[in-house]
């Protein structure tokens, strides 16, 4: 599976250090993932830069048929498609900092972020939207670019503040987050 880097995403990254690529996930995968991942026991997680509900997932290298099958489709995308796409958008070679792992992040009432600002310099945050629910921006919980359709990839320079205002109502949205870093020189 390959997705060409949209030219508007390349331009947006160059200008703002952030870009979106819609349609990263194949049809239906976001819905499948959401069905399974929202049942994980997410815990309230706080840093100096954010408060969200989170659960860290590590997918084993050996395909275990007892595991939630959509995870394996996701990991292939996270480990191969996302780094390739991000490298094209960001103009430098990027690799997953922790392959086959990702963080499920839920914004619930009380959640907010200024971005994972404690990540190392040069890190790119790759976020994949899973939710389809929508609510007024005044309730908070919206990313700076607004709620993205499920399956959209958002790339953000980790040093860039990308605020999500405090979510003040009982709605929730889910996203997946993984970090990309510079590839070591060959």
């Amino acid at each position: 599976m390959t997705i060409a880097a949209p030219t508007d995403a390349i331009a947006r990254w160059a200008a703002d250090g952030a870009a979106q690529v819609p349609g990263l996930l194949p049809d239906g995968l976001a819905a499948e993932l959401l069905t399974g991942l929202r049942r994980l026991p997410l815990v309230p997680t706080e840093t100096a830069h954010e408060t969200v509900w989170a659960y860290d997932v590590a997918v084993p290298p050996v395909r275990d048929p007892q595991l939630f099958e959509p995870l394996f489709a996701l990991v292939a995308i996270l480990d191969d498609v996302v780094p390739t796409l991000a490298s094209a958008v960001c103009g430098r070679r990027l690799v997953p900092l922790a392959p086959s792992t990702f963080r499920v992040v839920a914004y619930r009432k009380g959640s907010w972020t200024d971005g994972p600002l404690d990540a190392a310099a040069g890190t790119v945050v790759a976020t994949i939207a899973l939710s389809t629910d929508a609510w007024p921006a005044a309730w908070g919980g919206h990313p700076a670019d607004g709620l993205a359709p499920a399956g959209t990839l958002t790339l953000t320079d980790a040093a860039r503040v990308s605020p999500v205002a405090v979510l003040t109502r009982h709605v929730e949205r889910y996203e997946l987050r993984t970090l990309l870093g510079p590839a070591e020189a060959p």
Binding site: P44, T45, E46, R108, K109, G110, V166, H170, E172
Partner: protein
């Protein structure tokens, strides 16, 4: 640890007791001696308050909290205050409320820190055993209630929840309200700014 000088005057205690009898819900001011409240606040602020949270459809809340009973012989301000509170403090509240109150069996004291994103959804504290809720204010700063973090008492009027009374985070204040019968519905609206509401909170039995 000691009360402010004013509470040595029986007339002050009597006036507070009269106010309690009227509504079973009041705020006392200038509760502890100045050096006592300042020392307590500084000691509490130095403690890490890990996030605790629960989400809908259960009763939802989110805030930082630290809780532990006093250790015998420990001279940390936390333990000094807790020992004092569970003895002299309870006696003081008993004198004002006219109730023979006692501490929780585990003598656990809790400090709360409400920061950005923190809230307590509407609830009434009733559990069949609690008699009086208390909130000892350790917040020096003040802010617009629109930013959240104020204690709000609620009522349902015509099917709509309305705020009947709002109390700003306090410094050296003691909010007391009965939760054994007709416990008042109350909440702390979500904090949307980088402010910090500190208090020592709990219930007497």
């Amino acid at each position: 640890m000691r009360l402010a000088e004013r509470w040595r005057d029986p007339a002050e205690v009597a006036a507070a007791a009269a106010a309690w009898r009227e509504r079973r819900n009041l705020r006392l001011t200038d509760v502890l001696a100045d050096d006592a409240i300042a020392g307590l606040r500084d000691a509490v602020a130095a403690l890490h308050h890990p996030l605790v949270a629960a989400t809908a459809p259960d009763y939802a809340y989110q805030y930082g909290a630290v809780a532990s009973p006093p250790e015998a012989g420990c001279d940390h301000a936390w333990c000094q205050f807790a020992r004092w509170w569970w003895d002299d403090g309870v006696a003081f509240v008993s004198a004002i409320t006219g109730l023979r109150l006692r501490p929780p069996r585990d003598r656990v004291l809790m400090s709360t820190e409400l920061r950005r994103g923190a809230f307590l959804d509407p609830h009434n504290d009733f559990d069949g055993a609690r008699r009086v809720a208390y909130v000892l204010g350790l917040t020096r700063d003040a802010w617009d209630p629109a930013l959240g973090g104020h204690l709000e008492f609620l009522a349902v009027e015509g099917g709509v929840t309305v705020v009947t009374e709002r109390r700003a985070p306090g410094w050296n204040t003691l909010d007391l309200f009965a939760v054994d019968r007709d416990p008042p519905l109350h909440q702390v609206p979500i904090v949307t700014a980088d402010v910090e509401r500190r208090a020592i909170t709990g219930w007497l039995y």
